[in-house]
Subunit: 115 residues, 6 copies
């Protein structure tokens, strides 16, 4: 796994443990619900991860983008498909999405080269 | 066509004409580009319209939502699929997306009943 | 009840029924969770409703603002307290919050005069 | 004055009076400061109103947009200049700015025809 | 004081000095007003800092969050209360608030352990 | 050139190359259009860069801010003018713009001292 991907996953895991250790029920249930949201249903997982990704891009949440890039990669989204998702995000959300697209492209390269 | 749908389309068309009549090249080219973004490519039109819809929902743009609901309806998205898109938008964007989901649900009912 | 308040409540109730009738589990569970979030805990209900209100104001969600204004009114927030919440929202969120504050002030007057 | 412009100004004035009558000092001082921000300085008023307008457009605040359109109109911004401001807002903020641009264009026509 | 807290405070102080040295009156007055906003009034300081915090969380401003976490800590907000504020922010603002909650939780741990 | 400015430019250039190498036509055309938007027209370049900057500030996009600060610097915007742009952004967008203003002020100092 690339350093960039590992660093993201490690910090995420460490802080999730801290947060869950406080036993706030709303936070716990929201996180369970978040997981359920992306499971196969009328739409398949891959489509849902693409929806989660484009939503994260227009809301310009770098960590959310990284998370969904990882999932989309696992589920077999290819580079041409990925850049069409980037294109929708940039057209809907404007040029302020470009810097987030740069960081997304960097993370995607890492995922692709460390396959 | 339902009154709600007709009113949206009429105002949209009328004001698009006003804007295009001013011959601002950046606006014209952005609108062409917007149309191209949702054409079949590595991803098909239906998937792209769903991406445009979820992006519009989390950015809470009612008119953008209506536009993509209309397109998604034409392309055969069904009600179960639609509510899974709504679910992703509400989980990613939070309860502030709920009022927009109410208006989206109302518009979707109109599209479904006027088929 | 004032016409403005009644109209808001009626539309909200009508569309909530439409949405819940579709049996999307994520939407249902998110709504239950939303209700739980504002119950007495380490912080009391009144404080939590004030938190929900200021969050809705800076995110500029008029319907969310109306909902929390209604709840805050029921829980005994007074007008001086309310305007201090408005002040925090306007300082944090800037002058783009002002138009939403105008509509919030109008709705608050309705709640106060129809007591 | 056109009906659209009059309606906006009347509601704005009415609710400003309600808000100021509550004597919240933070709100009063913020509003004074808001007025000072757009006075001649190193940059002239016209430039500052254009800055306030483009900021309001990308933040998608229709009432803020109307206010700055009125001021820009008084200060002699012409239609070609106005559409270049619209273009910057649409490129930076993306296609979600388009519905606000439609309403801005409608209001601008009213200001121009009621000169 | 922890390294994370010290680093935040030092940069903040250094850049505030740079900004204030330019003598822009609007900036100076806005900062004074910002300070006044959180003083005891109809609502007490602690409540106002919690309002400022939840507003900063839903607007996803990490530095604003850190500032209000520091103030809330000084004013005696405890960990259970803090996580209920986090819960409101995550429900209102959605899962895009989670990465900011991770960084907030990390900073809060630092404040708690360096008491 | 200062280290901060060089680092920003290098990363930007490197990732732009990666993105353009994928030959997504929508992304390419959006970037061309972005360049055209800021060319002399009814409004001059300097005014347009100031518009792009204030829009980037209220949308709180640090990299967009750095880019427009660089362009504004090249086009002769002086420090008093710059701080009036900062003031508009902070008033319209609120105190959540302050942390971005700190980073903008730091970058501006670098541009000024490395002239």
């Amino acid at each position: 796994m690339s350093e960039l991907v590992k660093e993201f996953n490690d910090y995420r895991e460490k802080m999730n443990e801290v947060i869950l250790s406080k036993n706030n029920l709303v936070m716990k249930r929201l996180w369970n619900l978040d997981t359920n949201t992306y499971e196969d249903g009328a739409l398949d997982k891959k489509t849902k991860e693409m929806l989660g990704l484009v939503a994260s891009m227009v809301l310009r949440c770098d960590d959310c983008i990284k998370y969904h890039l990882g999932k989309a990669h696992e589920l077999g989204v290819n580079t041409d498909e990925m850049y069409e998702i980037f294109a929708v995000a940039n057209i809907v959300g404007g040029t302020i999405v470009i810097p987030h697209t740069r960081r997304a492209a960097e993370y995607w390269e890492e995922l692709e080269t460390s396959k």
